[in-house]
């Protein structure tokens, strides 16, 4: 494979050059916008199909990119073909044959691949599409698993998943994660190299490995979602495109692996959280907390989808999985038409289960909030106070923020103010900082110790 890799690196520099040209041209005409759309719809399937054939993620992606470039050259004149996906796939396969032919030191394996491809290429384009279609589902699932392979760092998994499955450009990924583009590009190149060097097979893992491999996939998807939902830095409180992307990936996975309860649990969690997107920011982008949100803005379609996904998880015996439990908590909120209808004791019970399953200071923090709502801020404060010395929460702005809230509700405004100001110094998000500053100001204006609110 050594030779192939060398070749593919040269190729890769070339493809990068094209992408620069592409991004300039793509905005130019309607056809290019249509190609953009086709690419987004078809790219993951095409790349997945190609990996199965050429057995190399990097090479497969480049071949797909080559096909895209060909489309950009030809479609503006010829028009978009009736079956654009099949056209792209056929073109990529031609390129694969060319690529292996050019290679002076054909290995036996490559010869086999070429023979196999040529045989298939003789079929009509239409048949080709049907031929690959049968395995498309499996290929996509394999692609998800290889992009989220534990041999890669979490950051690399995220970047590769967005790139290969989301069809996002390096620039888009960089923008979403507020990282320099070359950093992301490097990350993706290195990830592909690692997959090749470690000879990671293109397959759906079997049990017993499946559980841990699946949780790696779910972790990546939820990380993408959270990055979009509660952006850790930057001016926008959330970056909705990432939420959408994660939701799409989750829904795909739920169709491809329908018997895995935690997949449905995660989808339920994301659907219900996403249902609040429109309600959780005010007109100027400021955050609005759950209990202050206008629930009429909650997206009932997404809530219904979320509740249905949760039911699927429960029917598969997964009610106590970590994602399903979190989904069950968000479902309690989703079912409450008014904030005062919220079944807080039930939420506390779910948090207790979650704390047993995946004990963590963050879960405790959330449990404290639920306890405060169910049984009063004094009860919540008791839990919080056990977390104050927790090293992992030392620079977590939500700890002082929540503690400040409890103190505020208990009428201890001076102490609350100190906590809010501490939270201000810890958050990296501009919107959140303004929000916390405002709360600190309210404390300052409140008459000292005027009693609980």
């Amino acid at each position: 494979m050594k030779v192939a890799r060398k070749n593919s690196e040269r190729h890769s520099a070339c493809a990068r050059g094209w992408i620069v040209v592409l991004s300039v041209v793509v905005t130019a005409t309607d056809t290019h916008r249509a190609i953009d759309a086709v690419w987004r719809i078809e790219s993951a399937r095409i790349i997945a199909g190609l990996i199965r054939i050429v057995r190399d993620v990097g090479l497969a992606e480049e071949l797909a990119q080559d096909a895209l470039v060909a489309a950009l050259q030809q479609w503006p004149e010829s028009g978009v073909p009736d079956n654009p996906g099949a056209w792209l796939m056929a073109t990529a396969k031609h390129r694969a044959i060319d690529h292996f032919r050019r290679n002076a030191l054909l290995e036996r394996k490559h010869q086999e691949i070429v023979r196999e491809l040529e045989a298939k290429q003789e079929m009509a384009v239409e048949d080709l599409h049907t031929a690959i279609d049968d395995e498309v589902g499996d290929d996509l699932l394999r692609l998800i698993f290889i992009a989220c392979h534990p041999v890669l760092s979490t950051e690399a998994r995220v970047a590769l998943t967005l790139r290969l499955l989301g069809g996002l450009t390096t620039e888009e990924i960089a923008r979403a994660f507020l990282a320099p583009e070359p950093t992301i590009a490097q990350r993706i190149v290195r990830a592909k190299r690692t997959l090749a060097e470690e000879q990671v097979p293109f397959e759906v893992p079997r049990r017993p490995e499946l559980a841990s491999r699946l949780s790696s996939v779910l972790e990546v998807i939820y990380l993408v979602f959270n990055e979009g939902y509660s952006a850790t830095a930057g001016d926008d409180w959330m970056r909705p495109a990432l939420c959408e992307e994660a939701l799409r990936l989750g829904r795909i996975l739920a169709e491809l692996a329908p018997k895995e309860p935690e997949v449905h649990g995660l989808v339920a969690l994301m659907e219900i959280q996403a249902s609040r997107s429109r309600a959780r920011t005010g007109p100027s982008g400021e955050p609005i907390l759950l209990l202050d949100q206008n629930r009429e803005l909650w997206d009932q379609l997404l809530i219904r989808r979320g509740l249905a996904a949760l039911e699927r998880a429960e029917k598969l015996g997964g009610a106590r999985g970590p994602y399903a439990l979190q989904a069950a908590i968000t479902a309690c909120h989703a079912r409450a038409r008014l904030p005062q209808d919220t079944d807080w004791p039930r939420i506390v019970a779910f948090y207790e289960q979650l704390a047993q399953l995946t004990p963590s200071p963050i879960v405790e923090l959330n449990r404290a909030v639920a306890v405060a709502m169910a049984f009063g801020p004094a009860e919540g404060l008791q839990i919080i106070d056990t977390l104050v010395s927790e090293p992992s929460l030392k620079s977590y702005h939500l700890l002082p923020s929540v503690r400040g809230d409890f103190l505020f509700k208990l009428g201890r405004f001076a102490e609350a103010r100190v906590e809010f100001e501490r939270a201000v110094s810890l958050t990296r998000n501009a919107r959140e900082r303004e929000f916390l500053l405002e709360r600190a100001r309210t404390c300052a204006e409140a008459p000292a110790n005027s009693g609980p609110r």
Binding site: I41, D82, N83, P84, P240, R248, R251, S277, R278
Partner: protein, 124 residues
């Protein structure tokens, strides 16, 4: 961005060929697997429908069939997509299936963006 696709055709298109139904089932599965289709459904024929109309200050309830309608909405689907182009591309694929597997069928797919869903897309 969310899009509502409305499929319109003549009142009585007749029974669809089996090849069409097969292709449709497959497209539906693919749409579900693409993670973009939120909801879809077929609608009962106009003969079994009712229209509640306001005209000149008068409310009238009329049971179908309605003689004046040439085209009816036969089905709908709701998608969450990145762009209008993506929606159009999807509608084209859908109509290609009609062209290929249901000779003589005529109709249209109306691509309508659901307003108020731009919040999901800061660029919109």
């Amino acid at each position: 961005m969310r899009f509502l696709m409305l499929v319109k055709h003549g009142e009585n298109p007749g029974p669809p060929p089996k090849e069409f139904l097969d292709a449709m089932t497959k497209l539906g599965e693919e749409a579900a697997k693409s993670g973009t289709m939120l909801q879809s459904g077929g609608l009962s024929p106009l003969a079994k429908s009712t229209s509640v109309r306001l005209s000149r200050g008068q409310l009238t309830t009329i049971d179908g069939p309605f003689s004046e309608s040439k085209e009816v909405v036969g089905g709908f689907a709701m998608f969450e997509l990145k762009s209008k182009e993506e929606a159009i591309e999807g509608a084209k694929q859908f109509m290609e299936l009609h062209k290929k597997y249901w000779p003589g069928w005529e109709g249209e797919t109306e691509v309508r963006q659901v307003l108020g869903t731009e919040a999901f897309d800061p660029k919109a």
